[in-house]
């Protein structure tokens, strides 16, 4: 049993201790239904100071973007401006009840409408739904729309979705969840989709079974698909629809619109590109954008103008469910708090600003890549998008692996990059600096990476045993995976 660095709040609880004195009730008391009342509530009883110290100590055990560099590829761990949090807490938004009728929630609906329009503008699509609660749910929404589109045209034998082998693992999982089948496509030597294999998969009679293709642009290798127009045309000619995984949209804003490349549907990760919080499994927002032909299939409700405004009067906004919708997916309107934060972010930057965001994200990644080219093997040596892959392994340091480099970075106060993904690169380290870091920070990171490369050759044990200075040292990942214990000890006792 590992000794806990911080006790559970239940372990410091003492019966009868009170942290807060509630003011006298200033409204008439309303008795609760007796069948909903319980005698005993398992709440911790602590003083205010205990609660403050407990949670501050927990936060100090963590690495966060507020305390250090976080180049976690494919996750876009950019800084989320604190003002977004202030805006999301404005009483008019935060206290709005989800059952408020549309007439009483015009401000919130206007904000959602504007966000839908902005997202459609950034990506060149005809419409947006803000409902999906995360990227994976956005993917599911997209593929369910493609499925329903074919069913609606009496073309339901189209059940195959093409997925490149560099894809996020969520892509094939989404296809399976939607009851369709994956055809995996290889990558060519440049890291693009293998066009020959794609054309073969879409040839002759096989074309009639193609429902569509899911592709990430730039790919998870951080590379722009050089033949993307050919790819789109091949799939469209076969009768399939094109799905873009928008996880890497941070490389594209103001540079290229997926809708104009011919994509039919895309999900956004508001928590990646538009600076809403990550982590803890949510709440997130995986908004979906669609081309004209999928508008009627969007998950509802969508905010629309139900009564046009005039020069003097604002329009009236209402909630509309598209006629052939795939369904609702999430209670109410999705994670409304995320919409406010993304709105605030886009509003603060404006169109030109978002363009600059992407330009800097791409510039920063290419700067770090170029500076590390002589120290590490870069498997696809061409200009990258907002992230790039290198191999965390050297022939003259055979005992050192990508994982060891990741762990050693923690000793230098840097969050490890994504490791062992994408799967097609051995010992992959996927690095994404994001636009919010200064050249000074990037230079420090480059120096640390070079230093670790040196250490790997002169004193590899430093890497094998890393991290040395973090609250938790090297964890036993095998034991953790094989002997998974999801309950903490004190709770286990009550179960017994």
């Amino acid at each position: 049993m590992v000794e806990a660095l911080e006790p559970l709040i239940y372990e410091i609880s003492s019966a009868g201790r009170v942290g807060v004195n509630l003011p006298a009730c200033d409204v008439p008391e309303s008795p609760l239904p007796t069948d909903l009342l319980r005698d005993k509530l398992d709440f911790p009883e602590v003083s205010e100071m205990q609660a403050v110290r407990h949670f501050v100590r927990l936060s100090q055990l963590n690495h966060s973007i507020d305390t250090g560099f976080y180049p976690l590829g494919s996750c876009t761990m950019k800084y989320n401006p604190k003002i977004n949090e202030d805006v999301a807490r404005l009483a008019g938004f935060a206290n709005l009840h989800p059952h408020t009728n549309p007439e009483g929630a015009q401000g919130a609906l206007a904000m959602m409408y504007q966000l839908q329009e902005w997202l459609a503008e950034v990506s060149g699509f005809a419409g947006t739904s803000l409902v999906p609660a995360a990227g994976a749910q956005g993917e599911l929404a997209g593929i369910l729309m493609i499925r329903k589109y074919h069913q609606d045209r009496n073309d339901a034998q189209r059940t195959k979705i093409l997925v490149p082998n560099s894809a996020h693992g969520t892509n094939p999982a989404t296809v399976t969840m939607a009851g369709l089948e994956v055809i995996e496509l290889p990558s060519d030597a440049e890291g693009n989709v293998d066009l020959t294999a794609l054309k073969e998969a879409c040839s002759g009679e096989k074309a009639k079974l193609i429902a569509g293709m899911m592709i990430t642009v730039p790919s998870t290798l951080g590379l722009f698909e050089a033949h993307i127009l050919d790819v789109v045309k091949t799939v469209h000619d076969a009768g399939g629809l094109m799905y873009m995984d928008g996880a890497n949209m941070n490389a594209l804003m103001g540079i290229v619109k997926p809708g104009q490349l011919g994509f039919d549907v895309m999900h956004y990760n508001l928590h990646k590109t538009f600076s809403t919080p990550h982590g803890g499994g949510g709440p997130g927002c995986g908004a979906v954008g669609v081309a004209e032909r999928l508008l009627d299939f969007l998950p509802g409700p969508i905010v629309k103008i139900t009564e046009a405004g005039t020069d003097d009067e604002a329009p009236l906004y209402g909630l509309v469910t598209p006629s052939k919708t795939i369904g609702q997916l999430k209670a109410f309107y999705g994670n409304f708090g995320m919409h406010i934060r993304a709105y605030a972010y886009i509003r603060a930057y404006g169109g030109e600003g978002l363009h600059e965001v992407s330009r800097h994200a791409v510039l920063n990644a290419n700067y770090v890549r170029a500076k590390l080219m002589d120290t590490f093997t870069i498997p696809y040596p061409r200009y990258c998008g907002h992230e790039f892959v290198l191999e965390g392994h050297w022939e003259d340091a055979p005992s050192v692996h990508a994982l060891d480099i990741s762990k050693r970075l923690m000793d230098y106060g840097i969050h490890p990059p994504t490791n062992y993904f994408p799967l097609i690169v051995p010992e992959a380290l996927l690095i994404e600096p994001t636009e919010t870091e200064t050249k000074q920070t990037l230079d420090e990171f480059i120096e640390v990476m070079k230093k670790i490369a040196q250490e790997a050759k002169t004193s590899p044990e430093l890497l094998h045993d890393a991290p040395h200075v973090t609250p938790v040292s090297r964890v036993d990942e095998i034991k953790a995976a094989k002997e998974l214990v999801l309950c903490c000890a004190p709770l286990l006792k009550t179960v017994e």
Binding site: Y420, L423, P426, E477, I478, A481, K482
Partner: protein, 127 residues
Amino acid sequence: MNTPQDLHYAKSDEWVRIDGDVATIGISDYAQDALNDIVYVELPSVGDAFKKGDSFGSVESVKAASDVYLPVGGTVTEVNSELEDSPELINSDPYGKGWLVKVKLSGAPDLSDLMDASAYIEYCDNR
């Protein structure tokens, strides 16, 4: 890399040993090394029938979870139940104690797209 001569190898890194009408299937030394420490194996049930190329289970390591595909078609007659508690046998002995399943072949197996040891070594060297 250990690559026994008497086996046939698939591009997806499974090996198959043919003994009469029974085929034993596992994953190669190259595959176990690339996956790193294996922590979980999902296997089919005895009696399940598969076509050549079907996914019959998955192997999960600290790095990734990978489907495994049958290099020959047939009906499962035996699964390596020892792997349930000791999946690391695949790492330590991929061609012996780390075997995955045995299948009864339905007729002569189609081995045309499988590689012999030297072709497989060359295939791995070029990746």
